[in-house]
Symmetry: C2
Subunit: 149 residues, 2 copies
DNA sequence: TTCATATTGTAGCCAAAACTACATTTTGAC
DNA sequence: GTCAAAATGTAGTTTTGGCTACAATATGAA
C-alpha cells in the first residue's frame, strides 16, 4: 500500500513526550476510506448478493461518480475486482480486510456501549474511531469486555 | 462545535441498519487537521513561548512547506494569526478550540488507560480517535471515569 | 559589518476525494 | 424488438494535504 509516507517517522527529534504523538494519522487517512468501502461491499454482497456502484454510493452518501472512482482505487490496491456494468467483488485480500474491519467495528461498538454510550451514538462514533484503533488497543478492548461479561 | 456537517445526515434512505453508519467521517477529515495544528500550536506557545513553522513541521512530521500551507488554511478559518517571520499565534477562537481538543484528548487517553491500554498506545491511538468522539460519547466517558474513581 | 547558515516563504507538481455535467449501456415495459 | 428510464461510466473542476526546488529573510560568528 505504502500510501505516501516514506521517511515520515524516520528522524524524529524524540524531544520529550509529544514528539511522536502525530504522524501516523496522516497516512492512515487513505486507508480509512478503503476500509469503509470494503466493509460496505462485503455487507452488500452478503445481504443483497451483489454490490452495485449506485447502492454503494447511496449508502456512503456520495455521488455515484465518486463511488466509481473510489472503486477504481480499490482495484488498484488489489482489494476488489469489477468489470463494467457487472458489479463489484472483493478479492481474497479484500475479504480478509473486510473481516478484520468488521470484527474491529463490532468490538469498538461493544466497548462504547459498555461505557454507557447509546447504541446510535456508538454506531456513529465507531465508524470514525475504528480506523484508529491499534492492535494493542484492540486486544485490551477484547479483554475488558471478557472481564466484565 | 458543529465541525463541518451541514446537510449530511439529511435524506438518508433509512433502509435497515447500516444506512447511517457512514457519512460524517468524510467532512470531519479536514477538521481533524485543524485540530492537530491548533493543539500543537497551543502546546508550543505554552512550552516554548513561540510557535515557529519549522517546529510545527518537525513535530507533525511534514515538510515546512506543508506546515506553512496548513497554517494559511488555519488563518483563513479564523483560528490563527501569523505574520511573515513572526511565528504563529492563536485567535480567541483558536484558543477555545485548542482547549476543547486538549480536554477531549485527555479524556480519551484516560478512558483507554482505564480499559487497560498502555500509556504509549493510549497516547498514540487517542491522537486518531479523539477527532471522532461525539459530545454524547464524551459525556459517557467522563461519567465512566467518575464512576470508577 | 559581512557572510554563511538556518529559517521562512513561494511556486509548481501530484494524488485523493469530492462534485456536476454529459455520454453510454442495460433493462424492463410495451 | 423498440425505446424510455435507470444504472453506469467518463470528463473536467475543486480543495486538501503532501512533496521538492528555489528565493528571500534573519541571525549569529567571525
Amino acid at each position: 500500500m505504502h500510501p505516501v509516507g516514506k521517511g515520515l517517522m524516520a528522524k524524529l527529534p524524540a524531544e520529550g513526550t509529544q514528539a511522536r504523538r502525530f504522524g501516523k494519522t496522516r497516512s492512515a487517512q487513505s486507508t480509512a476510506l478503503h476500509e469503509d468501502y470494503v466493509e460496505l461491499i462485503a455487507d452488500l454482497l452478503e445481504g443483497e448478493g451483489e454490490a452495485r456502484p449506485t447502492d454503494i454510493a447511496r449508502r456512503l452518501g456520495v455521488s455515484h461518480a465518486t463511488a466509481i472512482k473510489s472503486i477504481a482505487r480499490l482495484k488498484r490496491a488489489g482489494l476488489a475486482t469489477a468489470r463494467p456494468y457487472r458489479g463489484v467483488f472483493l478479492t481474497e485480500k479484500g475479504r480478509a480486510l473486510a473481516e478484520r474491519v468488521r470484527l474491529r467495528h463490532r468490538l469498538v461498538v461493544d466497548v462504547l456501549r459498555a461505557l454507557g454510550v447509546s447504541s446510535e451514538a456508538a454506531e456513529a462514533d465507531a465508524e470514525g474511531i475504528e480506523h484508529y484503533v491499534s492492535e494493542h488497543t484492540l486486544k485490551a478492548f477484547a479483554q475488558f469486555l471478557k472481564s466484565r461479561a
